[in-house]
Amino acid sequence: MRTVLFLLQKEFRQIFRNKSILAIIMVMPVVQLIIMPLAADYEVKNINLAVVDHDHSSYSRQLISKITASGYFRLADYSATFKEAMKFIESDHADVVLEIPHGFEKKLIREDEQQLFIAVNAINGTKANLGGAYLGQIIRAYNQDIRLELVQPGRINPIPVIEITSSNWFNPLMNYKFFMVPGILAILVTMVGGFLTSLNIVREKEIGTIEQINVTPIRKHHFILGKLIPFWILGNVVFTVGLLVSWLVYGIVPVGNPGVLYSFIAVYLLAIMGFGLLVSTFCETQQQAMFIMFFFMMVFILMGGLFTPIESMPDWARAIAAFNPVSYLINVMRLVILKGSGFREILPHLGIIAGFAVVLNSWAILNYKKTT
């Protein structure tokens, strides 16, 4: 145990001496948590709308002002023909074209029916999807208003209507930041735990110090413990800094018990550090380790349910995600922070992550041979 203590002393001395790494460890969570959630915004605003109004009636004008007043649309153009409006889409100045046919008002009142045409620029899928949906919703609401205006509602509605009212549980205002910030924090903890551990060990290989360590009585598990403990502590520090930032900047306070979060993080860090350790046993240079870690990080992040829900992925992708430790952490973070889940609810996740930790670390230790 004394040996581990000396190794830890050496390790911390080196970490605190490496100013740039230390700065990154402290600055990265703060900056990324402040900037990334603002940029990774799911709400689509400022959709550029081109209107082709063949009717020029009070109804059509009412509809247009209703759309622009919603705050989601910006009237980019008011063209005379669809062809002209299409040019705006081609030059990327407009995202949606709304065409109001000739006699819109007249026909609507006389024949109780009228059609509108919407053309959406689908190059940006998310924007097209949401833009079309928003526009549809606004027009439907407008339709309802007109109906109220024209038809005196009787005691019993002549046509059966299903009205839908939804309420958003655990995030009533659908604030996407509540959803993104815990996920980004999960990624940050993964980066510090995985990257730093693997790079640090490979560095000892690269500069040859491992050769000198190998001829000393330092045992295999001493050396590995000496590497894991400092970065385990750093991972916890980063996590705490991240929680503080999300509280101070976004006012996110975990609904659940922070103790549950920390106990999960404790096990999770062991798993992800075991992964870093495993990568380091396969690599001879920091460059190799960096690229291998990068490859896995990309998979972990994009298939971890941070941006797109895992449930909507194809079966094969879900199978891969089941082996992605990051997906469990993101899930648990959201469960505890937003939903207030307790220890019992996250127990299955904890079990799986503990399994990861055992498998990855034993594999790494078996693979890390003192003698070649």
Partner: protein, 314 residues
Amino acid sequence: MQTITLNGLTKVYGKEKIPAVNEVSFSVDQGELFGLIGPDGAGKTSIFRMLTTVLLPDGGGATVNGFDVVKDYRQIRSSVGYMPGKFSLYPDLSIEENLSFFATVFNTTIEENYHLIRDIYVQIEPFKKRRAGKLSGGMKQKLALCCALIHKPTVLFLDEPTTGVDPVSRKEFWEMLKRLKAQNITIVVSTPYMDEAALCDRIALMQDGKILSIDTPANIVSAYPDQLFAVKADRMYALLSAVARYDNTINSYAFGEYAHVSLPAALGQEAAGAALKNWLAQTGLEALEVFPTEPTIEDCFIKLTMDHLASAKN
């Protein structure tokens, strides 16, 4: 008493299974300063790494202090000091921190074994707060030697400790080794420099993973079978090609400002020298100097290498 024994030690690398160390056997006595001499790629470092238990042999065996390098690696690791050819201390820790780190992992302190390293450490002590990565080449080697000595090893393995070190530091380094030898520490050192070979008690000349000869430097020199002449003339290049054409020449090569020519001992010293001089004069070379010279370790090594190559061809 034999501190180190090698018994048919073999190591092969790569898919081609080329032996880097080919059934090497020798032994080193306690308190001996033993030199492994050979060019790059002779297998010196592989032998060191196997003896210090960081590399597993593919055949044969070896013992250090009576411990087997495979089975009893743990005992060996706590009793030997190893200084790898490549500087491998922590460049971001200071001299003092490196030294105390390696002292503590061996469960000892700098104070306890200070007497061993004092002579060396006083030279780098003024810079003890400086990071190891910022030291000069010679200072790095001194620090590495201190770190290898701090746990009072009984055997010290030094892999090319003087490669890339200036001549003055090299000389100092060998003087330090002599003082350590006086402390009854067995030292195995490798070097590609032939002039350092003469400073060892015994040397093993190596080539292509094989030992060519093991003996004291004096014995190796006296075992030189041929007559060696140093030759000088006004035009070096013409001289070298002339001696190479001479019928009796066994071997000839440039050696400093002279060319060394070995002739069969059977010819008799004076007669051989006079005949060589005559022949060279006929080729039109002027300012000729021909005189017999004592072979050095380098001459012996060249001779042994030539024989080795010739036998490898047959």
